[in-house]
Every structure is written in structure tokens, then in C-alpha cells.
């Protein structure tokens, strides 16, 4: 069995092996193999191409931009998605604007170990995808499966644009697949993770699994829930979402990030604008609470959406 984390490591291994322009840069990623072991063994297999960086997120990303301008394909690891704010300026003002301004693309991949795990607290649990998706020029990937973690990371390296790769920490070890994929949907295409006819749940990253568990629970009550895995939040596959809502008439959108604005709001805004007449009930979104991510597991388990809280909202929506 291959874990989500191993898939990320294998993708980086393959990228390094296939493309001499690829190198890895980040804190503790060299011989130590990374805080999460996402680069375990890579420094040994690819000497001089997996480099430990100083604790300097701005410089890590800024240097990757420079290297990309000079023809390289850097993969940068932020130790936690939360710390990418220290490199925010380079990401949003430099990498994201480069192609627009100069016509020179900026093929960097910034890997963000994202999302909550019990006990990680306010500064090691955040989901940053909405923040980065806000900025023109960035591609924001949010893989929910082992297969996508592998194939989308490889695609991220191949894409000429800066990619924010939001990999979910909870899925690292908890998600397993029998084998690495040999083919994949292209980024920008959402996946119908489960077919249904009564309601559409749109989710991404770890929330896809909560949505699927919710769909299982509701299936025992006779409801057929369709689950859409967005895969990338930017570009956002509005067509697949609209097609699903056309089938079901009901929309519930789930995200682990904070509630104000964000991906869930974006999905609903698009459906309201482009598919208003498809809706047979008000669209509903579920997010984390509007507080920092709490430390204690009791609080954390309630702060984020779960299959149970999603199911509760889903039942209300189904009965409208």
C-alpha cells in the first residue's frame, strides 16, 4: 500500500529523476528527509539537488523565483502551510505577477503541508488555499487522494506557472492506495467522487473524505448524495459543479478553511450567478469556525467540519 505522503515523495523522486531542472529546497528536507519525511531518501538519491534552506521563507521562495527565471523547476517545501505567510510577499507579488508583467513564466511549486491534525494548534493547522487562490497568476491544487497527490504534483512540476500545492497533513499517513496511478485527470477538472441524485456536496482535500462518509451515512436513510472533489481550487471547475447541481438541484459546499470568503463562498457565488435556475433550495456552505484553529482535540474536532456536522446540515437541506 502507498500512503498519500509516499505518493508525494515518489512524485518528487520521479520529477528529480526525469528532469534535471528540478531541485528541492526547504527547511530540514536534506539528509533529515523533511519534518514529515516527504523528502526521505531523496538527498541521498539525488546528491546536491535536495538542499536544506535557512529559516527564511521569503528567501526560499524568492530564490526559487530567481532559479525559475534562469530555467530551473524548483519544488519548495514550506515546513507548514502556516509558515508560507513569511514568504507571502514573494509568492503573491513576485511569482504570481511575473508572467503577466514580463511574459516570462515562473514554474515553481510551493508545497504546503496543510490542514489540521489533533493538537497542532493555531500555527500548524491552517488551510491557506483561499488566500492564494485570491491572487491572479497562481495555480492552487488541493489533492484529496493518493493518486492525485502523485499525479498532480508531477503535473505541478510540469506546469509553467507557479503552483501552490496544498497537501493535507491528516491524509499523509491515514490515506492509502494499492498503487501509484498510471494516468490522471488533468488539473482543472473536478472529479465526481460519488454519484447521486438528491444533493451535491462539493469538497476538496481532506473534506472529500468527510463528505463521502456523510454520503454513506445518508445512503442508509435512502438519500443518494453526489460528491464532487474539486481537486484544484484554482482553476475551479465550475462546469462540473453546475452539471452536478443540474442533476440534483441542491448544493452543499464544504471546506476546512476559515468561513469568511474563500473557496466555499466562491463555489456558491458561481452557482448562484451561472446556475441560479438550477437551484431548488438555498445553497449551503460549511467551514471551520471563525476562530484560530484550537489546540485541544475536543475543541479541534468541533472547530472543523466532520462527516457528522456535514450530515446534519445535509439533512436540513434535503428537507427544505
Amino acid at each position: 500500500m502507498i500512503t498519500y505522503l509516499e505518493a508525494i515523495r515518489e512524485a518528487q523522486h520521479k520529477a528529480l529523476a526525469d528532469d534535471p531542472r528540478v531541485y528541492l529546497y526547504g527547511q530540514d528536507i536534506g539528509n533529515f528527509g523533511g519534518a514529515f519525511k516527504a523528502t526521505k531518501g531523496l538527498a541521498k538519491d539525488f546528491p546536491g539537488r535536495v538542499l536544506d534552506a535557512p529559516l527564511s521563507e521569503d528567501a526560499i521562495i524568492g530564490s526559487a523565483i530567481g532559479a525559475a527565471i534562469d530555467g530551473m523547476r524548483p519544488i519548495v517545501e514550506m515546513q507548514f502551510a502556516d509558515f508560507s505567510t513569511c514568504g507571502l510577499n514573494q509568492i503573491i507579488n513576485h511569482a504570481a505577477t511575473l508572467y503577466w508583467r514580463t511574459n516570462i513564466p515562473c514554474p515553481i511549486v510551493v508545497r504546503l503541508p496543510s490542514g489540521g491534525t489533533a493538537g497542532a494548534g493555531p500555527f500548524h493547522s491552517q488551510s491557506m488555499e483561499a488566500l492564494y487562490a485570491h491572487y491572479p497568476g497562481l495555480i492552487v491544487m488541493t489533492p484529496a487522494t493518493v493518486e492525485d497527490a502523485y499525479s498532480m504534483l508531477l503535473e505541478a512540476v510540469a506546469i509553467d506557472d507557479p503552483v501552490i500545492f496544498c497537501e493535507h497533513k491528516y491524509l499523509y499517513y491515514h490515506l492509502k492506495a494499492p498503487a501509484l496511478p498510471t494516468e490522471a485527470l488533468p488539473t482543472g477538472k473536478a472529479r465526481v467522487a460519488r454519484q447521486g441524485r438528491d444533493m451535491t456536496i462539493v469538497a476538496y482535500s481532506a473534506m472529500v473524505h468527510e463528505a463521502l462518509a456523510c454520503a454513506d451515512e445518508l445512503a442508509s436513510e435512502g438519500w443518494q448524495i453526489e460528491v464532487i472533489d474539486l481537486r484544484s481550487v484554482k482553476p475551479l471547475d465550475t462546469d462540473t459543479v453546475l452539471a452536478s447541481v443540474a442533476r440534483t438541484g441542491r448544493l452543499l459546499v464544504v471546506g476546512e478553511a476559515f468561513p469568511w470568503g474563500g473557496v466555499t463562498a466562491e463555489v456558491i457565488a458561481r452557482v448562484a450567478q451561472e446556475g441560479f435556475s438550477l437551484l431548488d433550495a438555498p445553497p449551503v456552505r460549511i467551514n471551520a469556525k471563525d476562530t484560530p484553529v484550537p489546540y485541544h482535540p475536543n475543541l479541534w474536532g468541533t472547530h472543523r467540519p466532520t462527516a457528522r456536522t456535514i450530515a446534519a446540515e445535509a439533512r436540513k437541506l434535503l428537507h427544505l
Binding site: 493538537g119 497533513k169 499517513y173 491515514h174 438541484g249
Partner: protein, 397 residues
């Protein structure tokens, strides 16, 4: 002696489980507090697990080389009651910091259960299901537009949504049931009449009625050539009455009364598909005798569906002679752009007491249906009384 568990710690971000690689102490061994009592290995590193307190290893519940999830009990430590109390290990709630059950969501609440109304907005009570109650969803509206449906067409559907809302599934199910019936297209005239009646019905309509003596009118008719029909007498009487006081013919639009420019009165003509209403212009200024020819012409053109433009629309009232169907009484609906419709029932001969004996007399019921926003019962009654009065002097019509 209290027993406290030795737990698999969370050994790093996102670690789900770890493997036991060393168990240096056996059951029965005394151990000091805060020392490593076993060693586990994760994908990241090898790490020691410490005893929470000094004590004696009571038992191990794990095997070397096997993996256990974070938070599981690896073994038990027997400690003194003193130590347990001092270190807070005697509290039954000293559970591992694992995700606890989430807050109890409100899913047990049945959607049909009545909920307490809580004031929320500026002290006004807000319905608990404000987002749900009885609305037509955007999808319902779009589908209805596509089908040419109006809300009235949903009357036959018992909604399954909150507060009896008709959901799109309800509508589609209804359509499937309808599909089992023979369906033929309604004529465009039928559809137009239906639409006019639906629009008209959106107003508060009322009807009053009274008796009118017809003998004088019938006698006058007998002498006339050409002969006006009873409906034309009624039309002319109504026009004269409105010529004297046009207020009942006005329309209420918003906060204004819209007065008629001229006393143009329509009359109902039944055709194959529905009712047409040709209009006689300036009916208050046109003597009955000169009206007859135009009246017959319009009846004929109407039946041929060839009404000229100047005989359509723009009238302030309609006259309908439902008496031709043998009806004595009816509550016709004024056209949407009109306030009034005057109905004429079937005449019949009744015995009338002249103070000495019963004499045969011919009488009928006349009705006035009106928009109650514009007109009250008294004004409507006075208008009818005036019409009844004018029937007694047909030579002046």
C-alpha cells in the same frame, strides 16, 4: 493501588501509528517517573515513551514489532494513591488528547417538529425556518417558465418541502402523473382568457345584484326597428349612468384613480373557444337606435374573429347577458383592465301585487361585479338602481 495507562503519544504531526521496537522492562519491574519505558518507531524517527509516574509495570498490552495507533493503551502502571493524587492521575477524565466526539448537531430534530420562534431581528420574531418557508425556488420558477406554468397551475400539487413547499421533484412527479392523461393543446384564445381571468382574480372582487322590471323595455323593443337586444338596453343604461357619474368606472392604480377618457363599453360575445368583448365607443353619447346596427355588426365580426382594432380593448366596463343561458344570477369577473362588469339574468314573468290583485310582470336580476378597492357596496347599489330606473324610460335611451 491505582492503575494508570501508558499511552502511545502523538509522536509528531500527522503520525497515525507507531511500532513497538523495544520493551526494556517486564511486568513487575519497578520504574522511576519520567523515564523511557519503551521505544517506538514511526516513519519519521525512533522515540522513547515515558511513564507518567514512578511505579510498577503491571502489564504490557502490546507486542514487540507490532504497530498501534496513537492514543492506544500500551500497558498499565501501578502507582501509589499518593503519587496518583499528586500528579493528577487519579482523575477518571485524564483521557488521552484524542479527537473527542463532535458537538451534538441538531440532526435529531425532525423537520416537521414545531420550533420555538426566537426574536432575532430588531426584536421582531423571525421564523425558525426563514430560509425555507413556502417559496418557489429559482429552479421551480425557471421550469415553470419553460412549461408556461403559473402558480395557479401548482394548485394540484401537495408540496413535500418545508412548510408544504412544492419542490422541483414534486413538480416533476406531478408532470409524470399528468403525462398519463390525454393532453391536447389549449387554443391561444383559451390561454389568453385564462391569463386575463388569472390577472383579474388578483383583485378583491365583489358582486351585488337587484331586480329590474323589463315590461316597459320589452314594449319599447317591440315597437323598435331595428330591435335592440336586452343586453344593448343594459349597455346603454350603464353608459348613460356612467355618463352622469363616471367615478365608478375609474381604476385604482397605485395611489391614484385613473379616470376613463370616454365611456366605452364592451359586451361579451361567446365564440367557440371563449368569450370576446367588442367595444362600443362613446356609448353614453350614442342613442340606442343608432347603436343597434353597429352592435350586430360587431357581434358578427367577433364570431368571425375579425374584430377591427378600434373595437378591441380600452373599455371601462363590460355587459354580459348570462340570461341567454337561462341563468338568473351569476358573478362574472371584470376584465383585468376594467373595474366593472354588468350582468343581465334571464327574464321571467312573475305575479306582482298592484294593491288589489296579482298582475303578470316581467323582471330579471341584474348584477354588478366590481373591484372593491375602487367601489363600495353602496356606490355599486346606487349604480344598479340608476340602471334599473333607466330601464323604465327606454325611450330616453
Amino acid at each position: 493501588m491505582p492503575r494508570v495507562p501508558i499511552l502511545m503519544p502523538q509522536l509528531g504531526e500527522s503520525i497515525a501509528e507507531a511500532t513497538i521496537v523495544r520493551l526494556p522492562f517486564a511486568a513487575g519491574d519497578e520504574v522511576a517517573g519520567d523515564i523511557e519505558v519503551l521505544e517506538v518507531e514511526t516513519q519519521k524517527a525512533t522515540m522513547g515513551v515515558t511513564a507518567p509516574c514512578r511505579g510498577r509495570i503491571a502489564e504490557w498490552t502490546v507486542e514487540l514489532g507490532k504497530s498501534y495507533p496513537v492514543g492506544s493503551t500500551l500497558g498499565w502502571l501501578e502507582v501509589t494513591a499518593e503519587d496518583a493524587a499528586r500528579l493528577g492521575l487519579d482523575e477518571p477524565t485524564s483521557a488521552p488528547m484524542m479527537p473527542a466526539p463532535e458537538e451534538q448537531p441538531g440532526e435529531s430534530r425532525s423537520s416537521t417538529e414545531t420550533q420555538t420562534v426566537t426574536p432575532l431581528v430588531r426584536g421582531l420574531p423571525v421564523p425558525a425556518q426563514a430560509s425555507a418557508a413556502g417559496y418557489l425556488s429559482p429552479r421551480m420558477k425557471a421550469r415553470m417558465d419553460e412549461l408556461g406554468f403559473r402558480v395557479t397551475d401548482l394548485a394540484g400539487i401537495a408540496g413535500s418541502g418545508a412548510a408544504g413547499r412544492v419542490t422541483i421533484e414534486d413538480l416533476e412527479a406531478y408532470l409524470r402523473r399528468l403525462a398519463e392523461h390525454k393532453q391536447t393543446p389549449a387554443s391561444s384564445m383559451r390561454v389568453a382568457v385564462a391569463d386575463a381571468m388569472r390577472r383579474s382574480w388578483s383583485r378583491p372582487l365583489a358582486t351585488v345584484g337587484r331586480m329590474v322590471r323589463l315590461d316597459v323595455m320589452l314594449a319599447h323593443r317591440k315597437q323598435s326597428n331595428p330591435k335592440p337586444g336586452p343586453a344593448l338596453y343594459a349597455l346603454r343604461a350603464l353608459a348613460v349612468a356612467l355618463g352622469e357619474n363616471s367615478a365608478p368606472g375609474g381604476r385604482l392604480i397605485g395611489r391614484k384613480i385613473v379616470h376613463p377618457k370616454s365611456i366605452d363599453v364592451g359586451f361579451a360575445v361567446e365564440t367557440e373557444d371563449g368569450v370576446l368583448v367588442p367595444v362600443l365607443r362613446d356609448a353614453d353619447k350614442t342613442p340606442l337606435a343608432t347603436m343597434v346596427a353597429r352592435y350586430h355588426e360587431l357581434v358578427e365580426l367577433g364570431r368571425q374573429r375579425r374584430l377591427p382594432a378600434n373595437a378591441q380593448g380600452g373599455s371601462l366596463a363590460t355587459v354580459t347577458n348570462f340570461g341567454t343561458f337561462g341563468l338568473e344570477w351569476a358573478t362574472p369577473i371584470p376584465l383585468p383592465e376594467q373595474t366593472l362588469v354588468l350582468g343581465l339574468g334571464a327574464g321571467k314573468i312573475v305575479p306582482e301585487w298592484d294593491g288589489k290583485s296579482f298582475q303578470p310582470a316581467t323582471e330579471a336580476q341584474i348584477t354588478l361585479s366590481f373591484d372593491h378597492r375602487v367601489l363600495d357596496g353602496g356606490a355599486a347599489g346606487r349604480l344598479l338602481a340608476r340602471i334599473a330606473e333607466l330601464f323604465q324610460t327606454p325611450e330616453k335611451l
